[in-house]
């Protein structure tokens, strides 16, 4: 590397600043929380002020917003979507049902604790969380990014076996490509 230590630090600061102020959400409304995203993104709450905007495909996105309960069928797609995203990537769990199952605690088709299957960086609680809560969750994520603590993707890579074991326990027919990046 041609940088010395101090210039490397400056580059890091610029990088983190840009990452913090440009969070692209992958457009995947996985649950009923997706209904509070239009108000968050549009004229009343205007999340674009913070550099938050949607992106059409997972390849371009930074943030995977799990908007609510995950049915087993969706979990498989969500894992695939998450693995297609490029580092650095973050996961936000949105709503009580991602934390402990919420009101679907006894449903046979929804997973109860999201962080067993995907590395969650920030949880937003509530059913449903208000747009203000969503924005505050994003600001929390921005703080973590600035401090360099939003390292869910790293955690996922290091403990892939544990996550895979949990995922395979729920998803019966596992036909997925390897995660090797």
């Amino acid at each position: 590397m041609i940088y010395d230590k101090s210039s490397g630090k400056i580059v890091d600061i610029i990088k983190n600043y840009a990452r913090k102020h440009s969070l692209w959400i992958v457009a995947y409304g996985t649950g009923c929380g997706a209904i509070e995203l239009p108000p968050t993104m549009t004229s009343r709450y205007d999340a674009e002020r913070f550099g938050i905007r949607g992106s059409a495909t997972p390849r371009q996105a930074d943030v995977l917003l799990i908007t609510g309960y995950l049915a087993v069928k969706t979990l498989k797609r969500v894992i695939r979507t998450y693995e297609q995203m490029q580092d650095p990537k973050y996961v936000i769990g949105f709503g009580s049902c991602t934390i402990n199952g919420g009101m679907y605690w006894d449903s046979y088709n929804t997973v109860k604790a999201l962080d067993r299957y995907l590395p969650v960086d920030v949880y937003i609680n509530g059913c449903m969380p208000r747009p203000e809560a969503v924005i505050s969750g994003f600001i929390e994520l921005q703080k973590l990014i600035e401090a360099g603590k939003a390292n869910g993707a790293k955690k996922y890579k290091e403990n892939l076996d544990w996550y895979r074991e949990n995922q395979r326990k729920v998803i019966k027919n596992w036909k997925m490509p390897d995660y090797n990046w």
Partner: protein, 367 residues
């Protein structure tokens, strides 16, 4: 010459689909040859969960069946219980229920307008209409305490009375929304390119519409005047003065026009309701919710939601908990069998556009 067919997956992760579902398309060139809908990504087994909970505990569950418009669900479950029990509802509660239902219809239409314009690529309309929808959401919040899920309509009435000065606020909001409608007309409904795209697209055959189980605005967009509010008036709809707009053509454009005109009707209904609302109790005395046995029997009740007939078939075995509550969402037919039929022959640019005009809402398909 036969063009090469490719398979295109629209969803579940796709910005165009409404909610979380997938349409598997076989495409030749730009034309859809075969469409197959795949649902189940939002299945939470509500009907099973209701069998585990008491009748009153089911209210927080049913409103989550349809996210853009939860109130018809509460209304249906409440009316189902009332019909099985033969319970009467005070007059004031009926008026309040109609007001809530119409407000939620209006909110759902605002959201639909955003979605329809968004799939057409006009991103200014969603910004405006979803912002305006928030005025209605604020009313809900003041009345019920929740922005999206209200759990407001209960068997035997409604949960609380209107707060002081609420009626004035509703009227003011209605005035504001009415003043906004001409701007939406200018920007969206009278837009030459929108008309060009919407006319003649996604046509539902008028002769087949009834047999295919088409309901709501898509049915009225075929020129068939059927609406649960006039066919089988519930609550106080028979005492109110409103027309049910219809439009010939059966395409995306006529569905849009039907909804546009219904927005005006909803505003007028809300004004009438506030004008005519009697004083009195807002609920009848009900048993202890934890010890509420509903007598044996069954009932099919239906409500006109923003997407069409919303039906509940509820069966009680005389116990604390429902024996079975089976939900018939309007999107159940629109989103699966109808969509598969009318997408054939459509241009791939129009797939999301047509889906939006039918008001497909996946959570009520799989529940």
């Amino acid at each position: 010459m036969r063009e090469k067919e490719t398979t295109l997956y629209l969803g579940p992760q796709h910005p165009g689909v409404t909610g979380n579902m997938m349409v598997k398309l076989k495409v030749a060139g730009d034309t859809v040859v075969k469409a197959e809908t795949h649902v189940g990504y939002l299945h939470r087994a509500f009907e099973k969960l209701m069998e585990q909970r008491t009748w009153m505990q089911s209210f927080p569950i049913v409103c989550r069946i349809c996210v853009p418009e939860p109130d018809p669900n509460e209304e249906n479950l409440a009316r189902a219980i009332e019909e099985i029990e033969g319970r009467e509802v005070p007059e004031r509660a009926k008026y309040i229920r109609v007001m809530i239902l119409e407000l939620s219809r209006l909110a759902a239409y605002m959201l639909w307008m955003g979605g329809q314009a968004g799939t057409a690529g006009l991103y200014t309309v969603p910004q405006w209409s979803v912002g305006d929808r928030d005025y209605i959401i604020d009313l809900f919040e003041e009345l019920t305490g929740g922005r999206i899920y209200h759990m407001y309509i209960w068997a035997g009435g409604v949960r609380r009375d209107l707060p002081e000065g609420f009626a004035d606020k509703v009227l003011r909001t209605m005035d504001y929304l009415e003043s906004r409608l001409p701007e939406y007309d200018k920007l969206f409904f009278e837009n030459a390119i929108f008309q060009k795209r919407a006319k003649g697209v996604g046509i539902i055959d008028k002769d087949k519409a009834l047999e295919w189980g088409v309901v709501g605005p898509p049915l009225r967009g075929c020129g068939i005047k059927h609406d649960v509010r006039i066919d089988e008036p519930y609550e106080v709809y028979d005492k109110l003065d409103f027309v049910v707009p219809t439009h010939e053509g059966g395409d995306v454009w006529s569905r849009a026009m039907v909804r546009r005109q219904e927005m005006e009707q909803s505003i007028s209904i809300i004004r009438q309701v506030i004008d005519k609302m009697p004083a009195g109790e807002y609920y009848n005395k009900v048993p202890n919710p934890l010890n509420w046995y509903v007598p044996e029997g069954d009932a099919y009740v239906k409500t006109e939601s923003a997407r069409g007939e919303f039906g509940y078939y509820a069966v009680s075995d005389g116990g604390l908990k429902p024996r079975r509550v089976h939900v018939r969402g309007p999107a159940y037919v629109h989103g699966v069998s109808l969509l598969e039929k009318i997408l054939v022959g459509a241009n791939i640019s129009d797939v999301a556009f047509i889906m939006n005009s039918l008001g497909v809402c996946p959570p009520e398909i799989e529940r």
